[in-house]
């Protein structure tokens, strides 16, 4: 209490010069004025005692005489509570380090994610303050996610000039453990409406230095006379504490100069930051005990400069790279023993450089980068695989003892000598052989054997070290060959892949030998190929084929092949499973087949059981091209780990973090959960037999989760250090360390307004992408030009997604243009251009493009203005459908494969179309169907101009797409009776198709699954119907966002004038019938789980019924059915009130 009273004294003093307020506080004690004042005060309940807080001084102990004094008391209590909590929950182990939010006091306004309580928790934990009631003086930041319009319009009176920041600011600050600049986290609404706001704030701050400002140095002490002075002093203390070469000091002094500059002149910030970034960051890398305050102050200013969305970002990028390189050299220690963490300062780096497992593990990322577009391209078209499940041909290509043959390809004399690959050639060594060629295997040499044992078996065994460059080279050559022969390639490993050759002409066996021959010619290494109907059998076939051979298992031979196959040969059966099965006396797949699926699932779990059951029968439903996303990224070192003291261990950890951070960045992901795994020598364990191995160990692990995903090496190092500390281990006992990052989020998704990262990655990726494009273009050209297009489109898609910097847009745009040029060597035709992109282009760029196109762009835009929305809707819906289609065995796929047989060019076009749409939903609208059909603006004004034979050959999606556009186009111009004519054609076309495909009767009204599929079947039916209301329904399906729910569709319809629809008499009965059917099926679908949806729909229908004859009838027919079903399920009737 005593502390409090001094505090209030102080505050009274501080606000003393505020005459009006202190007067009001005085008058508060006067009962005669009380009523008036109170009524006035209640106006600002939520804002509490903001401007009147000076009244607190006189009432701290007296009973409340009015609302103001009550609020003062309440605030005081809340503060006491907060402080009490803060003292118990504050950060353990932070010691002398200043908490992140020191000097920050937030007020949370409205609904936020995370909730204000969570934010309060963060503030508690990290030394900030949390205000329940707004006060201009006590609050430094207002946190909110959304502001109502009124507050935005009147921002000054709402925020009192305080920064209005998104909660992400707090989360990110906690994540990086330092106070970030709030500027990039400013509320979007404000940023959009008033782009100049932030600069306004900065200017203001520098002129009025003791106003509440947000840069750390100022917050630390709000009463500081001058913030620039503060920075200057902090620079000085920094000086004296760091004992580094003179050069550094110089840089630092320059640094502090720059900071002073920044405070005095806001416009200078951008320039100086760019130059000062590097020296500062380097200094940070030095492990010295810099005062945290200084660190954060320097860093913060730096950080803020990172966030400035200016052209200078590129220089920042360079700085970052520099930063990465330098610390490692500083952390290193002189060596006294080689091959362990004790000796080698770059142990972690070298370890991974020499690790084969690391090579294999990280190979996939390289592959993905290289063949990214190709693998995506085929992923999207994989619907074809399903089209004819009986005839699929899968090829499994595997290089023969890859690691050896690559090394000895330059030593033909060793071809039939026993050779093994191992990282050490010490004959007595305990190094493990990683791969041995076939002659060596004849001696019984196996992978994983110690070199000395292998030498004992075969004294003249030749041992080679790894040659990772060669592996990389050969692996790339290998995949080049594969991608040349088929676009459906699934990489399993650097030397192993699956190909789907179903669509390739000719005998797969011939193709296999051709591929093998080509692989041998380009790489001088042999490969074996297994061919079968699915991936499992293909892989097993390779087993038989090896070495240097090929094997085809036709479907009829699958059973024979499997019956004698030992269970161990099946992928997915490891030691443990094998042992379990052997206990049940199961040795071969034949025996495994005798066990029922149920008991397998009971014994081994649902998934494993099913897998066993399937595999033992040669059933494998996996599709080539389905690549699993990794769930975690990490690095682990279990060899050569010996620490002398804690410092060693810390160095090691920070290097490990660097490695993990690089891997995360390589995979383009960020993680939230960090697990540190430690192998600790068991008490009684001897020094392991294997040289520098880990021996007998206890495995320990600790993990932690942070609120915001990260791949930042500094954050990783900090977290790891904390985790490591929690083990309380003797570092001498540690034999292995691993860091694993899970809860991954892809980098693109996780950027919420983080300009720094997006810009950085943008710049990096833009240049990389252009290179990639060039590299890929010839590869892609060889196989098919789809890949190239895919790549181009992807850039395009990203362009739409993150339109951040103008210069970057320009950049990738030109690269996109280049891709197009590569392909067709002319500008993309007008109809290829994406409206969305065009519209979002900056004006200068647009006018430039417009010139190139001779002014046609403007016309195009004008023409499309009305339509684009609609088209975008439908197209995105279609691409969605196509993804689904790829997974499901759909009629669409069957149709398209049929077309494929008939008319290849058309199919190719269609495939391109699909690939594009999936890759770039937003960048869609660029397909040109074959002969005669052009884009929307060029579309023939009536279907009668369309060649029906062409139409018939088109895949269904395309056809429907065209039909969808046509009526919409003509509706304004043509009378309805023309409408009858075209619609008969597609119906007829549909009819013939379906009949041929035997997919069941497609009679207009009879089938019972109108709601099946995405989009539901009725949509397609209604679209081609000749009844206007049905057409509208289908159209609304797309407009309403294609959710699959009826109520949004009906809601949209309610905006259409229904009287006119009734005037359209044709097909009245039919329309009514199918509408009823539609509703009934919908009720059936939803009755059990979503009565609310049905309720909403029927209330809307009731409303329609008041206007439309048709809907009266529909409503009258369906509602008894509805009530009966409701009665059945809920024992009551829906209350269709007459009120509305």
């Amino acid at each position: 209490m005593s502390m409090e009273s001094t505090r209030s004294d102080k505050s009274a003093k501080r606000s003393f010069n505020n005459n009006r307020n202190s007067a009001s506080s005085n008058s508060n004690s006067n009962p005669s004025n009380k009523k008036k004042k109170t009524s006035q005060k209640t106006l600002g309940v939520a804002w509490g005692s903001n401007s009147r807080s000076s009244s607190r001084s006189s009432f701290s102990n007296s009973p409340f005489s009015n609302f103001g004094s009550y609020m003062v008391e309440k605030n005081r209590k809340l503060q006491n509570q907060f402080e009490a909590e803060a003292s118990t929950s504050s950060h353990g182990g932070s010691g002398s380090v200043k908490p992140i939010f020191d000097g920050v006091s937030i007020f949370v306004d409205g609904f936020t994610v995370p909730s204000s309580q969570e934010l309060r928790g963060y503030m508690l934990k990290h030394g900030g303050r949390f205000e329940n009631y707004f006060s201009r003086r006590r609050v430094t930041h207002i946190i909110c996610s959304n502001l109502p319009d009124s507050k935005i319009k009147n921002l000054r009176s709402f925020s009192r000039g305080l920064p209005v920041v998104k909660p992400a600011w707090i989360l990110e600050s906690v994540a990086v453990n330092k106070l970030l600049s709030w500027v990039p986290f400013q509320l979007d609404q404000l940023a959009n409406n008033q782009p100049k706001l932030s600069s306004f704030f900065t200017l203001k701050r520098s002129s009025v230095s003791n106003s509440a400002s947000t840069h750390a140095p100022c917050q630390v002490n709000p009463e500081a006379e001058d913030s620039s002075l503060k920075v200057g002093t902090s620079g000085d203390t920094y000086f004296s504490e760091v004992s580094e070469p003179f050069e550094h000091r110089k840089q630092i002094s320059r640094e502090s100069d720059d900071l002073v500059n920044e405070n005095s002149n806001a416009s200078l910030v951008e320039e100086t930051a760019g130059s000062s970034g590097k020296p500062c960051e380097v200094a940070m890398g030095i492990p010295s005990n810099i005062d945290a305050e200084d660190e954060s102050s320097v860093k913060n200013d730096l950080q803020s400069s990172h966030y400035q969305p200016t052209a200078l970002v590129s220089s920042n990028c360079i700085n970052n790279q520099n930063m990465k390189g330098s610390p490692s050299s500083m952390v290193s220690e002189p060596s006294n023993q080689s091959h362990s963490t004790l000796g080698d300062p770059n142990f972690v780096e070298n370890y991974f450089k020499n690790s084969r497992l690391h090579f294999i593990g990280t190979w996939r990322n390289r592959y993905r980068k290289r063949f990214h577009s190709l693998s995506n391209g085929f992923n999207c078209t994989s619907s074809n695989i399903k089209a004819s499940p009986l005839k699929t041909a899968i090829m499994h290509v595997d290089m023969d003892c890859f690691f050896v043959s690559v090394v000895i390809r330059n030593h033909p004399e060793l071809l039939d000598k026993p050779v093994a690959v191992c990282h050490s050639d010490n004959t007595k060594g305990t190094a493990e052989i990683s791969s041995a060629n076939y002659p060596a295997r004849d001696y019984g040499i196996k992978a994983g054997m110690f070199v000395r044992n292998a030498k004992a078996l075969c004294p003249h065994l030749v041992i080679f070290p790894y040659n990772f460059e060669a592996y990389e080279e050969v692996a790339d050559q290998f995949y080049n060959v594969l991608h040349k022969h088929g676009n459906k390639v699934q990489a399993v490993s650097c030397d192993e892949a699956f190909l789907d050759v179903t669509d390739s002409e000719g005998d797969p066996q011939l193709l296999a030998s051709k591929i093998r021959k080509e692989i041998f010619e380009t790489t001088r290494c042999t490969a074996s190929v297994g061919i079968a109907g699915n991936m499992l059998m293909a892989r097993l076939a390779t087993r038989t084929a090896k070495p240097d051979g090929q094997c085809y298992i036709p479907p009829e031979r699958v059973d024979d092949y499997l019956s004698q196959l030992p269970i161990k040969a099946l992928p997915g059966i490891g030691h443990v499973l094998e042992e379990k099965l052997k206990k049940q006396n199961v040795w071969t797949c034949g025996q495994l087949r005798m066990i029922s699926k149920d008991s397998l699932q009971k014994d081994f779990g649902l998934k494993t059981g099913e897998m066993l059951w399937n595999y033992s029968r040669g059933v494998d439903n996996r599709l080539v091209g389905l690549i699993q996303e990794s769930k975690s990224v990490g690095a682990e070192v279990n060899w050569g780990v010996r620490f002398k003291d804690l410092k060693d261990a810390q160095n090691f950890l920070s290097n490990l973090c660097k490695e993990v951070s690089l891997r995360l960045q390589g995979c383009g992901v960020e993680g939230r959960t960090f697990t540190l795994k430690i192998k600790k020598r068991r008490k009684d364990a001897e020094e392991p037999i294997k040289y520098m191995g880990h021996g007998d160990c206890e495995n320990l692990s600790h993990s932690t989760t942070v609120p915001v995903a990260t791949d930042d090496v500094e954050v990783l190092q900090r977290i790891t250090k904390q985790l490591f500390g929690s083990f309380h281990l003797d570092v001498k006992e540690i034999r292995g360390v691993g860091l694993q990052v899970s809860r991954l989020e892809s980098t693109e998704n996780s950027k919420q307004g983080l300009e720094r990262n997006s810009l950085k990655s943008w710049l990096a990726s833009a240049s990389a992408r252009t290179e990639e494009l060039c590299k890929n273009s010839h590869v892609a050209k060889e196989s098919s030009n789809r890949g190239c297009e895919g790549e181009g489109d992807e850039t395009l898609g990203q362009l739409c997604g993150n339109s951040v910097g103008l210069s970057i847009q320009m950049d990738s745009n030109t690269s996109n243009g280049a891709a197009c040029l590569n392909e067709v060597s002319v500008l993309p035709p007008l109809c290829h251009l994406d409206m969305g992109v065009l519209k979002s282009l900056p004006p200068e760029l647009f006018s430039e493009l417009n010139e190139i196109y001779g002014g046609k762009l403007v016309d195009l835009i004008a023409k499309n203005k009305g339509k684009t929305e609609n088209i975008n809707h439908t197209l995105s819906a279609y691409s969605h459908e196509k993804i689904e289609g790829a997974m499901k065995e759909g009629q669409a796929a069957r149709l398209s494969s049929m077309v494929f047989q008939n008319e290849i060019p058309v199919e190719n076009k269609a495939e391109q179309h699909i690939a594009k749409e999936v890759l770039a939903v937003s960048g869609a609208e660029s397909f040109v169907p074959a002969s005669g059909l052009k884009k929307t603006d060029l579309i023939p004004s009536s279907l009668s101009q369309v060649d029906t034979s062409v139409l018939q050959q088109l895949p269904e999606e395309l056809k429907v797409d065209i039909l969808e556009h046509l009526p919409a186009h003509r509706m304004q111009v043509f009378s309805p009776n023309v409408l009858l004519d075209p619609t008969e054609i597609p119906l007829e076309a549909l009819g013939t198709k379906t009949a041929e495909n035997n997919s069941g009767s497609k009679d207009f009204v009879l089938d019972n699954n109108l709601w099946v599929g995405i989009p539901p079947q009725w949509v397609d039916k209604f679209k081609v119907s000749n009844c206007l209301i049905l057409n509208i329904l289908a159209e609304m399906y797309y407009k309403s966002g294609s959710t699959g729910n009826l109520s949004p569709i009906l809601q949209r319809i309610s905006s259409v004038s229904l009287h006119q629809l009734d005037a359209f008499q044709d097909g009245w009965d039919e329309a009514m019938y199918i509408l009823c059917e539609l509703l009934k099926q919908y009720i059936k679908l939803k009755i059990e789980l979503d009565i609310e949806e049905i309720y909403v729909c029927f209330r809307l229908l009731r409303r329609f019924a008041m206007k439309s004859e048709l809907f009266i009838q529909v409503y009258n027919i369906v509602s008894p059915y509805l009530q009966a079903l409701v009665g059945e399920n809920y024992g009551g009737n829906l209350h269709m009130s007459l009120k509305d």
């Binding site: 609904f111 789980l1089 979503d1090 009565i1091 009551g1132």
Partner: protein, 209 residues
């Protein structure tokens, strides 16, 4: 966080559901104005402002009733949980029914945040549903009733014993339903609707105000 990992998905779902029901039932009682508004205090749940009963007996009644359901919900035995308002004759006037369906074969981990998102919408909708409800007669009582799919086996568990078989009086005619909110997710489906006596239902003697 760790304790959740040990639980079955159903246990987790039930736990979340129970918590939600306690809040939702309190909200209904508050909405109907059974007790003066001073009997409630504002609390935060799922980042929403909700009401919580201040009177320990009221709070305990709701809490223990709902938590007594936990084992049954976990086993998927509870079909509906209802808050019934009835007049002095014991004839229901209005019933708020939660229709529950816990997916017993759901195997993967339940994401609390996902459920929370859907459940929150119930509370939001409830708070604005007063116009859908009827004005209650002046003298009335309320209770929480659960409808089971099958008779629960006799159990030694204390919590379970709090639930006694009941033969609440029913309407003679099928009631009128007014759906308030529905959610269906893989682990859990919840629907909330109000039941009112049908228009042809004989009027209770006491009459409505």
């Amino acid at each position: 966080m760790d304790h959740k990992d040990n639980q079955s998905p159903q246990g987790e779902t039930a736990r979340i559901l129970i918590e939600f029901l306690e809040v939702a039932i309190t909200s209904i009682v508050f909405l109907k104005g059974v007790y003066p508004s001073g009997a409630f205090e504002r609390r935060r749940y799922m980042n929403l402002v909700v009401q919580r009963a201040r009177h320990p007996q009221l709070r305990d009644y709701i809490h223990s009733a709902v938590f007594g359901l936990l084992p049954f919900i976990q086993k998927g035995m509870v079909e509906r949980a209802a808050v019934i308002f009835f007049n002095t004759d014991g004839i229901p006037v209005e019933r708020f029914v939660f229709k529950l369906a816990v997916n017993l074969s759901y195997g993967s981990k339940v994401e609390e945040a996902d459920l929370e998102f859907s459940l929150r919408s119930f509370l939001i909708k409830l708070s604005v549903s007063e116009s859908l409800t009827k004005v209650l007669p002046c003298d009335y009582r309320w209770e929480i009733t659960a409808y089971f799919r099958s008779l629960p086996e006799a159990s030694a568990n204390k919590d379970v014993k709090q639930w006694i078989p009941t033969d609440a009086r029913q309407w003679e005619q099928p009631p009128l339903l007014t759906p308030i909110k529905s959610m269906s997710s893989e682990p859990l489906c919840v629907q909330l609707y109000i039941e009112h006596p049908s228009l042809s239902e004989p009027k209770p003697q006491n009459g409505e105000v």
